[in-house]
């Protein structure tokens, strides 16, 4: 909401010394937040005066242009009283016109300093100004680019022209919260200013009204719930060519709206002044009785923005004998719109039910100035005076005659009193506000207060539909006392329990990943099926079951993702695009299952839902397990002066997850798998305690190509929740043997497709309890072991916890290990 300061001051007697900053500071602290202060012409300094063009000699030039050599009467503003000689290139004015003249010493916007200078054979001492030169927008008083010609009699030559251009005006833009609809009017803003400075307030709706005699245009309201008040007034003999007076056009423009025609401008002006949206109909186009009812299915209306709209029973409409002529309170119809031939006007000032306004505006996607006020709730008592004000302005400036008869259907519903403790504001704010102060402040904001001991019976004023609950009134008291007066007191909570187990573990996972050289990224969880196609997921892959958004930002990505990989691969692609060749990224975030068990109920709010209701709510939500995903590209260890680095391979992806499971005290097992988007021969299924937690390995070559990644990039994704719930909370202290270690190396030849993990498991089991560790240190394939075979070399460390091993014990354990490996995996010792 934009409001010129002069208009505000018209309705409140602010002390002269109150400046605009002080005004906006106070209003901000009362809840009308300052958005900006505009000062047109702020950049212009020096003499800018009214000039009367005395003579104007066109002088054609060699370059084809014609300039005008003018003499301009600028009164005494030039210090001599002599006419000022000025060269001007524009032609849209004539001798006798009043023009805006800047004299030498003046500075125009952009730091353009004016001085007397020789040009086209004359000394030009100043400039006749156009709107553009003064920094005015296209909405300025004259056509953009042309010289501004002031209305005859606008001022005397030599007089400062700024007030005539509105340059002395300051416009305040407020950000109005939805609970303060009353402040979407000069009436409301001035009222708050009066409250803030304890200054007299002049209410624009306080006026003598003609009696409502029901003799005006016939109106029937079939839905008094939806339209509790409908006021109709009519004027005739309106001159559709009458110009809007400058003060109305200027104020409408300053308020951020566009002047259109006198009849329309007057309704907008009164809406800005009073907060009451008003609609004007061309009375000659209205047929018979005006009615208000709910629309019927299938009814249509072309609104005055030219849009054809399908109406439904939730829409409140205004009808006449021809059918629907307006979408009540939201937008009028095209058929009865005021035009350049309108001479009779039907003025409608009606109060509409806010929820209906909200729904209609939302359904038809109409955001209008009228709708904005109606859906937040206007003051129902303003209908009559606002309509009367419109009639007054139409008769004063449009030559119209008010027709007798005032139709008023319905009446504002009286507000119900709210009972509250006088000390509520004190208890809510923590400020020492005594009861008398609270009562005084409630009255100051317009409430009617009846004191009943320590209880108050408070009736809110009609312009405050937002005041319904006791606590609403406490806010009114506190804002008048001042939010800046609220003391600062730290509360004392009971002893806390710190972070939860899961929160601590998730931090540990993040730190572990960073420690492993991975950089955390955050990606949007929106995907499309195209992303899953790029991953190469099969048609029946579970990850293709997705939760769909009704209103996605992009039609290409309408789903909540089931996997972190698309986002991570896109991030990797961007890094490659930015020229980074080796990097590793990870993300830890929830993914979303396709659906819950059914609809989530809309539960009551006047009581706590039952546990059964809450359980139903909970079950309706899709599962959202937290996943950990990672992608690594390029070198794992860099090349450098120390030699060639090592490119990432499938094992880096597994190792990163192993690092995380180690950090959680878990042992990670792997086994071969073939799952998209991984290379079918280089994909490990990851297990913890026998449960599959995810996959890791080298990406499928086609996936690398699809995401613009270099070949042999790697990735992993695990269900972090499965890991976290198994994490070891309390690790027992290790006990070391200090007896000598015995080392035994074995090389076992097995078929190439025997997993090393199986051989290792057999060795571990076969070696028995003397085995301290087993580590595979070499894999050999080649002539010496034969086609389709491989040699696995293991280092066994054997040790007893209570003695030194005797001769032969280590060898016996080794032999037992080899024997079991042979039995289980067909291994032969090399």
């Amino acid at each position: 909401m934009k409001a010129p300061v002069s208009w505000i001051r018209e309705h409140v007697d602010l002390p002269a010394e109150v400046g605009t900053e002080e005004l906006t500071d106070r209003l901000t602290m009362l809840g009308l937040k300052l958005e900006a202060i505009e000062r047109p012409g702020e950049e212009i300094t020096g003499p800018l005066v009214v000039g009367r063009v005395l003579t104007m000699e066109p002088e054609p030039q060699k370059n084809g242009k014609t300039i005008n050599w003018c003499t301009v009467d600028v009164g005494d503003a030039n210090g001599t009283g002599e006419p000022q000689g000025i060269v001007c290139g524009a032609h849209n004015f004539a001798p006798g016109d009043l023009v805006v003249t800047v004299l030498p010493g003046g500075v125009l916007p952009g730091g353009f300093a004016i001085s007397a200078r020789k040009t086209y054979g004359h000394v030009s001492a100043g400039m006749i100004c156009s709107a553009a030169e003064l920094g005015l927008g296209t909405d300025a008083q004259s056509d953009a680019g042309g010289i501004i010609v002031l209305p005859p009699g606008a001022g005397e030559p030599g007089q400062d022209v700024r007030p005539l251009l509105g340059f002395d005006e300051e416009i305040i833009e407020f950000e109005i919260n939805p609970d303060r609809a009353y402040a979407l009017s000069l009436r409301g803003i001035a009222r708050e200013a009066a409250l803030g400075f304890d200054a007299p307030f002049r209410d624009p709706v306080e006026r003598d009204l003609p009696p409502a005699d029901g003799a005006g245009h016939p109106v029937e309201v079939e839905d008094p719930e939806g339209c509790p008040v409908f006021v109709a007034r009519t004027v005739s003999g309106f001159d559709p060519t009458a110009e809007t007076p400058a003060f109305i056009a200027d104020r409408i423009r300053m308020a951020g709206m566009r002047p259109i025609s006198l009849a329309v401008d007057v309704t907008n002006y009164v809406m800005l002044e009073t907060g009451r949206p008003i609609h004007g109909y061309d009375l000659d186009k209205v047929q018979g009785t005006v009615r208000v009812r709910r629309a019927r299915d299938g009814e249509r209306l072309t609104t005055l923005d030219g849009t054809k709209r399908e109406l439904g029973p939730e829409d409140l409409v205004v009808t006449d004998d021809s059918g629907v002529i307006g979408l009540g309170g939201v937008m009028g119809g095209e058929a009865t719109e005021i035009s350049e031939s309108t001479t009779r006007v039907l003025v409608e000032a009606a109060h509409w039910e806010p929820v209906a306004m909200f729904r209609t505006g939302k359904r038809h996607k109409i955001s209008s100035e009228a709708g904005k006020r109606n859906e937040r709730g206007a003051d129902p008592t303003t209908c009559e005076p606002a309509a009367d004000r419109v009639v007054e302005l139409l008769t004063t400036y449009g030559g119209a005659t008010a027709e007798p008869g005032v139709t008023v259907v319905g009446a504002p519903r009286p507000r119900e009193a709210v009972h509250l403790d006088a000390g509520l504001a004190r208890r809510v704010s923590g400020m020492p506000i005594d009861d008398e102060t609270a009562i005084a402040h409630l009255r100051a904001v317009g409430c009617d207060v009846v004191v009943e001991g320590e209880r108050l019976q408070v009736t809110p004023p009609p312009w405050r539909p937002d005041l319904t609950d006791p606590q609403d009134f406490s806010e009114e008291v506190v804002r008048v006392v001042g939010y800046d007066k609220v003391p600062s007191v730290l509360p004392t909570p009971p002893s806390g329990r710190g972070l939860t187990r899961e929160q601590r573990l998730r931090r540990r996972v993040g730190r572990t990943m960073a420690g492993q050289g991975f950089v955390e990224v955050l990606t949007f969880p929106f995907i499309g099926t195209g992303d899953l196609d790029l991953l190469g997921l099969g048609a029946d892959d579970d990850r293709r079951s997705l939760l769909r958004l009704s209103n996605p930002l992009s039609a290409e990505a309408p789903y909540m993702t089931s996997t972190l990989l698309p986002g991570l691969l896109r991030a990797a692609e961007r890094n490659v695009g930015h020229g980074t060749t080796s990097f590793a990224v990870f993300e830890s975030a929830p993914v979303t299952a396709p659906h819950g068990s059914g609809p989530a109920p809309i539960l009551p709010v006047d009581r706590r839902p039952t546990d059964a209701e809450l359980e139903e709510l909970e079950k309706a939500l899709p599962a959202q397990p937290v996943h950990l995903g990672l992608v690594a590209v390029g070198e794992a260890d860099s090349s450098g002066w120390w030699g060639t680095g090592r490119h990432v391979d499938w094992s880096d992806a597994v190792e990163a997850v192993r690092g995380v499971s180690d950090a959680l005290g878990l042992e990670l097992q792997t086994r071969a798998a073939a799952l998209a988007p991984w290379h079918p021969g280089r994909c490990a299924e990851l297990l913890v305690e026998g449960v599959v937690v995810g996959h890791a390995g080298e990406l499928h070559p086609r996936v690398c190509t699809a995401f613009g990644l270099p070949p042999r990039s790697v990735a992993a994704e695990v269900d972090l929740d499965l890991l976290l719930e198994r994490a070891v909370d309390l690790r027992p202290a290790p006990v070391f043997s200090t007896y000598p270690v015995a080392k035994e190396d074995v090389a076992l030849v097995v078929d190439a497709d025997v997993p090393a993990a199986s051989v290792e498991a057999a060795l571990r089991e076969g070696a028995g309890e003397l085995l301290e560790s087993v580590r595979l240190f070499d894999v050999y394939t080649g002539d010496q072991v034969g086609e389709g075979r491989k040699s696995l070399a293991f280092a066994l460390r054997l040790r007893a916890h209570d003695r030194t091993l005797v001769e032969g014990e280590a060898a016996a354990a080794r032999d037992a290990a080899v024997a079991l490996a042979a039995e289980r995996t067909g291994a032969t010792q090399r």
């Binding site: 730290l490 509360p491 806390g496 710190g498 050289g517 950089v519 955390e520 990797a572 990224v585 680095g645």
Partner: protein, 369 residues
């Protein structure tokens, strides 16, 4: 070597003569002194202290002397051998030191060579900022509450006094999921976590709820469909706006530096009444609005204060819907953007680097901010 000296003739045992012994010792010491390196010293040791060295050979001859001469000769040889041995040891120390010194010089490397063998990892600054905020509150005895991102409409709106026709619902452009009659949304705020906390715990409640939230905002320099909030909730007996102010002042001081406080302006939120916007004193100009160079402070754009978030006293309607008796308990709540707080704390003007995944961005913050 002489044979057993059965018939004593001292003249025949010349190596034991004093002059001979002296000469052998002098020769040994000279050789030791001249040994220029450990290798030469080793040779000198063999030559002059080894089994075949003159003094060793002479020592063996002692037995050939008549008993009365053995003592003298023994002492003479012993002294000489001791001198040689001491010279050897001394020279050994000198040469070893020289050797080590030379070796260390030879092994000198260029320590300015790059050492970046391994990629540096890092955590996302928004994660770090969330953890920092959580820690500040945990230090006061609060706890950290969390909830699902895909949330029930009732918890995101209705329970928070945002009924189906509340105008404020359009202020938060919500992502809805299909089918629409399932009433499931992407949470537009972390407030449903507050509702969940009240529904599952008995007061006193002191929790912060950091997390990701979603709005249907087109992605640009200042808007993102996904961003992060932290909200705080206190429900206890006798809680007032003053406690809210005290908490936010403390929070601001912890996050932005000692002496940085907050100010309240009246505002509107359905879940709080009274409601306030909270501004934090600019931690760069400390509220002066002017930079040290004399022009308008860039961080607060010459305002002296930075818009930080919203807050207020929990609306009794919310308490009722969440099963807390508003006659017994009052509460306060606040919420601010984590991304936004991070942006002005670290001077980031365009939010998009937060969600582009360029490793150079996150890596710059390491593992703590």
């Amino acid at each position: 070597m002489s044979g057993p000296n059965t018939d004593y003739d001292p003249v025949e045992v010349t190596p034991l003569q004093a002059e001979e012994v002296e000469a052998a010792r002098d020769a040994a010491i000279a050789a030791i002194e001249q040994a220029g390196d450990l290798e030469a010293l080793k040779q000198a040791r063999l030559d002059h202290a080894g089994d075949r060295s003159p003094l060793a050979l002479a020592n063996r001859e002692i037995g050939a002397l008549p008993p009365q001469a053995r003592k003298d000769a023994g002492q003479r040889i012993g002294r000489a051998r001791k001198d040689v041995s001491e010279a050897l040891a001394a020279r050994q120390v000198v040469l070893e030191a020289e050797h080590e010194e030379r070796m260390l010089v030879e092994e000198t490397v260029d320590v300015t060579l790059p050492t970046d063998r391994r990629r540096a990892g890092g955590r996302h600054p928004v994660t770090l900022q969330s953890e920092l905020v959580a820690d500040l509150f945990v230090a006061m005895g609060w706890e950290v509450a969390e909830g699902p991102v895909v949330e029930a409409e009732w918890l995101n709106f209705d329970a928070l006094n945002l009924g189906p026709d509340h105008p404020a619902r359009t202020m938060q452009d919500t992502f809805w999921t299909e089918p629409a009659d399932h009433h499931v949304v992407l949470r537009t705020q972390t407030s449903p976590v507050q509702a969940r906390t009240m529904l599952t715990r008995k007061p006193p409640i002191y929790v912060v709820c950091p997390g990701r939230v979603f709005r249907t905002d087109e992605y640009d320099a200042t808007h993102s469909p996904m961003f992060h909030q932290v909200e705080g909730l206190v429900v206890d007996e006798g809680i007032t706006m003053a406690h809210l102010k005290g908490t936010l002042d403390h929070f601001a001081g912890q996050l932005f530096g000692d002496g940085i406080d907050t100010r309240f302006r009246p505002s509107y939120f359905p879940f709080t009444e009274p409601s306030a916007e909270v501004d934090v004193r600019c931690f760069v100009c400390r509220g002066v609005a002017v930079s040290s160079a004399g022009d308008a402070c860039r961080t607060c754009r010459g305002e002296g204060w930075i818009e930080w978030g919203g807050c207020g006293v929990v609306n009794p309607r919310v308490l009722t819907a969440c099963g807390v008796d508003p006659e017994v308990y009052t509460g306060f709540a606040f919420g601010m953007g984590i991304d936004r707080s991070f942006m002005f704390r670290h001077g980031l003007e365009d939010l998009r680097p937060l969600f582009e995944g360029d490793v150079r961005f996150s890596a710059a913050f390491g593992t703590e901010i």
